[in-house]
């Protein structure tokens, strides 16, 4: 779709500002009631999904041209999708998240991008990663010594963050070793392992995303892969939700789903007690955006004169069926671990701040967003914050809350390994 094709939604957005808050039915305090980091940080209505609808409408109508401020605001969106969930509590015919990303794409096509994005694109082009400063030659260093299979249908896909961040090495290796120990014939693409480009899509760079997706899909098919297992929530979302539209037709699992499956089948048993009170952070791309892709092509159809529906029935992504329970079942199965929940969880979770490439493009905003979450985590009394995404972990790591206190941040894979 083009931005022009979103005009009906831009005009039908009812300006209620529900997109700025978690679903009201879930509000337990004023402190943790807001949902959109961008509007909380930037302040102007413009940052909200509603503001983006209105700004985009003026762009589509030719009444506005992108200014420097507008360009910055357009790209200061974590693509976390919290607005989308909140909007769809009542609305059945608006797609705020898809529109936010389409607006980014429109700005990109108009040449309105941020300096940090240029560096990311350069790294993507030359080193096949969106993390500037990393080298393709070093990408597989983490895998040294792991007995990956030469043959097999299950592919382990670590993603850029796990591949390059030395602080995450234990988790990325731990997950692979755990799956291999459980009897999975696990493969790794080695030289062929490159960025999934999901973040490019989140930033509105559709064309390079599609090219990369096409390349990766060809690789997977050629290697006979039937299942992808990834510990990265961003990659999971790319494969689960974005790649199918580009032709990928294989099973996609996050590591937590695989571990949960092994636990339920009795193939994995915890043997050690981990005396720890933890809280769990739902990664946006595993949780509310982790719902499976449903192919659809159709058009709007009005019934009863003016009621908007879609023909055929259109899939409705509102976060209801994201991956929330698998990580919680794993945490609660570990002897000694006590799970205490934050106020904003599951489909209405607060973002870690790394989404949409913002940890690169607007690190101050990204850090502030993480700090807000650490404040919420610390308010539970938990000793540690557990998550299932390397981007979330890295963003929380060492980040002080509003009182200057940090919290131990544990990758769920590391927590599992502590109990084995």
């Amino acid at each position: 779709m083009s931005l022009q094709e979103y005009k009906p939604m831009q005009e039908r957005c009812s300006n209620c500002s529900f997109c700025k808050w978690i679903p009201f039915d879930k509000v337990r305090s004023a402190r943790f009631a807001e949902n959109c980091p961008a509007v909380c940080y930037g302040g102007w209505n413009t940052y909200s999904a509603r503001g983006r609808f209105q700004m985009a409408l003026a762009v589509v109508n030719g009444e506005l041209e992108y200014t420097e401020t507008m360009t910055d605001i357009v790209h200061t969106c974590l693509a976390c999708g919290s607005c989308d969930v909140a909007c769809k509590i009542c609305r059945y015919n608006l797609e705020p998240l898809a529109h936010n990303i389409e607006l980014k794409n429109d700005a990109v096509r108009a040449g309105k991008i941020l300096p940090a994005q240029e560096k990311m694109l350069e790294a993507f082009k030359t080193e096949k990663t969106l993390i500037p400063g990393m080298r393709k030659a070093d990408r597989s260093a983490w895998a040294e010594g792991i007995p990956f299979a030469e043959e097999g249908e299950v592919l382990y896909y670590p993603g850029c963050k796990y591949s390059y961040d030395p602080a995450l090495r234990g988790a990325v290796r731990g997950a692979a070793e755990l799956l291999i120990r459980a009897g999975v014939q696990l493969r790794y693409l080695g030289e062929g392992d490159v960025c999934c480009a999901g973040r490019l899509y989140q930033m509105g760079f559709f064309e390079p995303f599609e090219k990369r997706a096409g390349f990766n899909i060809k690789q997977f098919k050629a290697a006979g892969i039937k299942t992808i297992v990834t510990p990265c929530s961003d990659c999971y979302h790319a494969f689960k939700r974005l790649y199918p539209k580009q032709g990928l037709d294989i099973e996609v699992l996050h590591v937590v789903e695989y571990i949960d499956r092994l636990l339920s089948e009795g193939k994995l048993k915890f043997t050690k007690t981990v005396p720890l009170t933890v809280t769990y952070h739902d990664p946006c791309h595993l949780g509310r955006q982790g719902e499976p892709y449903v192919p659809w092509e159709g058009k709007e159809k009005k019934i009863l004169n003016q009621i908007h529906t879609w023909e055929p029935r259109r899939p409705r992504y509102n976060g209801a069926y994201g991956i929330y329970d698998a990580p919680r079942r794993i945490i609660e199965a570990i002897p000694g671990v006590k799970l205490v929940e934050m106020e904003r969880i599951r489909e209405y979770s607060w973002c870690c701040g790394a989404g949409g490439g913002c940890s690169e493009t607007n690190p101050e905003f990204s850090r502030w967003t993480a700090s807000e979450r650490v404040t919420e985590a610390n308010s539970t009394g938990a000793q540690a914050l557990v998550t299932a995404c390397p981007w979330c972990k890295a963003n929380f790591e060492g980040c002080p809350d509003e009182n200057g206190n940090t919290i131990e941040v544990i990758d769920i894979i590391d927590l599992v390994n502590r109990a084995l």
């Binding site: 009812s14 209620c16 039915d25 009631a33 302040g43 102007w44 609305r91 009621i307 908007h308």
Partner: protein
């Protein structure tokens, strides 16, 4: 006209670089689309004027500074918070918008059962904080997403629970009021430094001047803090909400019950509503889901309580005999919530409700007694967090020829005639949703009683993207309002609710235009009174025309 650099710099010096913008993209998002129903003066296919700049003050002192600058340069301003309604947007070209989102403190005084709140404290957050102390607040009909200060000090404020909590005007206590000149007046007991518990002293009792019937409407300075009365909440410290989106359900204890109560005819319905008011048994009462229309309300209840259903399921659902039976059962209905303070109180309330039902031949709707549905209803009415459902069908709606006569018996006696008229218009053209004529919504009452608000917001769903739909709906309103208001004496027409506040163009009226309008009012005196207040408090007229005034000299001249 671009805002003069000197003015911009002066404002920037007050709020800081980060909290002021004149970027066209930013300012564009502070315009109200008049095709949206919240405009309540159209609908029209245009937006309200573009502000010269948007400013986000962070304190009372900063608000004072901004207002003084505005007075110096005769620059108009309007403060707003949650921006749903056209009321909150500027109405002139040489004007700035104040976005009050940085001021959102909430203090709960448990002992005095009051909340002291800043402008960006919305009803949901105030209620959530109050519940921690066993208290709750009135959530106005606009829903919990809106500023409770704006509702309390600036405009109307009745809601489904007003019959228990009182509506906004009944709960308003003290205010920290930045006058239109930039001075600060603290009213009520807070003005005497005695705390925020009383609106009428010790200290200056200015509620009548500050608020009156309709509030400051953005014309009379800026309220930066108010106190309001809270009510007892006999439930847990937060609403335990379960289920998949959007079908969240409240798992409240046994002392909470939600029912759809139904009656065989409008006369007995009206008698029962008055009996409900007299009995003082309900926590909330609202004829709510009728807004979807008589023909599809049961289908909509099924859709809203099932995460897998969508609007495209309406036709199939309507073929289901169970839905058809529910539509028939729910034809003449009211949704009520009972909240018992003790088990005995709950038993008494249940018994009283049953007796009222028996006396007037009423029943509890079967579908709404299903546990999941009843819990969803409890969630809906205790938090009022789904008000955007108003727009769910078509993207926009407007309320038309409200049957608000102040006399429920009179309204009830003609409502079927009104419904038939709407159904006729639904059938003869495609510009609004054809949902069965009756789409009339309204709350039971406030503590003050009266029952007037019921049947007052008569939903007409249309498409803000379809220009013909907008235009024809406006023509329809103009046509039917003329008959039902002018000839039959009904009022409270939502489509005309802001007609005297903002011109068709989206701009504010001039004083000359207001003189012309209000000199024709049956009782022009209140507008003259407001003119006097404005002259005393707001000599530079830096607000807009939602504050409705009539210059007495105009009347003298005309005489």
């Amino acid at each position: 006209m671009a805002l003069d650099k000197e003015i911009y710099k002066a404002l920037e010096a007050i709020v800081g670089e980060r909290n002021i913008s004149s970027d066209p993209g930013v300012c564009e998002t502070y315009r109200c689309a008049a095709a949206q129903s919240s405009a309540h003066y159209g609908p029209y296919d245009h937006r309200t004027p573009m502000p010269q700049a948007v400013v986000m003050p962070g304190s009372t002192e900063e608000v004072q500074g901004i207002i003084r600058i505005c007075n110096k340069y005769k620059l108009k301003y309007k403060a707003s918070t949650t921006f749903w309604s056209a009321h909150g947007y500027i109405g002139s070209d040489f004007a700035i918008q104040l976005d009050m989102r940085r001021m959102k403190k909430i203090e709960i005084d448990r002992d005095n059962m009051i909340a002291v709140v800043e402008p960006y404290a919305i009803a949901a957050t105030v209620q959530a904080e109050a519940m921690k102390y066993g208290l709750t607040c009135n959530i106005p009909g606009v829903g919990c997403s809106s500023s409770i200060l704006a509702n309390t000090a600036g405009w109307g404020g009745p809601g489904p629970s007003s019959v228990f909590t009182g509506n906004a005007s009944e709960n308003f206590l003290c205010a920290e009021w930045v006058l239109p000149t930039g001075e600060v007046l603290v009213t009520g007991s807070a003005g005497a430094g005695a705390g925020w518990f009383s609106g009428e002293g010790p200290g200056p009792g200015q509620r009548a001047i500050l608020r009156g019937a309709r509030g400051t409407t953005g014309e009379m300075g800026v309220c930066t803090k108010i106190s309001l009365k809270l009510s007892p909440w006999p439930g847990p410290r937060y609403i335990p909400s379960e289920g998949l989106p959007p079908a969240y359900r409240a798992k409240l204890p046994e002392n909470f019950k939600a029912y759809a109560i139904c009656f065989p005819d409008w006369d007995r319905w009206a008698q029962a509503m008055m009996a409900l008011c007299d009995a003082e048994i309900v926590y909330a009462a609202h004829r709510q889901f009728s807004m979807f229309g008589r023909d599809i309300k049961a289908a909509m209840l099924r859709i809203l309580t099932d995460p897998d259903k969508q609007l495209c399921d309406i036709p199939a659902l309507n073929m289901d005999p169970e839905i058809q039976a529910a539509n028939e059962s729910l034809k003449i209905e009211m949704y009520v919530v009972l909240a018992g303070m003790t088990p005995a109180d709950m038993a008494w309330k249940e018994q009283a409700l049953n007796e009222i039902l028996e006396k007037y031949g009423g029943w509890k709707d079967k579908m709404c007694l299903e546990p999941d549905m009843a819990e969803w209803l409890l969630m809906y009415f205790t938090r009022l967090g789904h008000k955007n459902l108003n727009y769910a069908l078509c993207g926009s709606y407007e309320g038309h020829f409200g049957l608000n006569s102040g006399n429920l018996i009179k309204s009830a006696s003609v409502c079927e005639e009104a419904f038939a008229l709407k159904r006729e218009w639904e059938q003869k053209d495609n510009f609004m949703a054809a949902i069965g004529g009756d789409s009339s919504m309204g709350g039971l009452s406030s503590i003050g009683g009266g029952g007037g608000p019921m049947l007052w917001e008569f939903f007409c769903h249309f498409d803000a993207h379809d220009k013909a739909s907008i235009d024809k709906v406006r023509d329809y309103f103009n046509g039917v309002s003329a008959v039902w208001q002018a000839q039959m004496g009904f009022g409270g027409d939502f489509s005309k609710n802001c007609e005297a506040g903002r011109k068709e163009s989206g701009y504010a009226y001039s004083q000359e235009e207001h003189n012309e309008i209000f000199s024709r009012a049956p009782q022009p005196e209140p507008f003259i009174f407001q003119w006097k207040i404005r002259e005393a408090f707001n000599p530079n007229h830096l607000g807009d025309s939602y504050y409705q005034t009539l210059d007495p000299k105009y009347l003298e001249k005309r005489a």
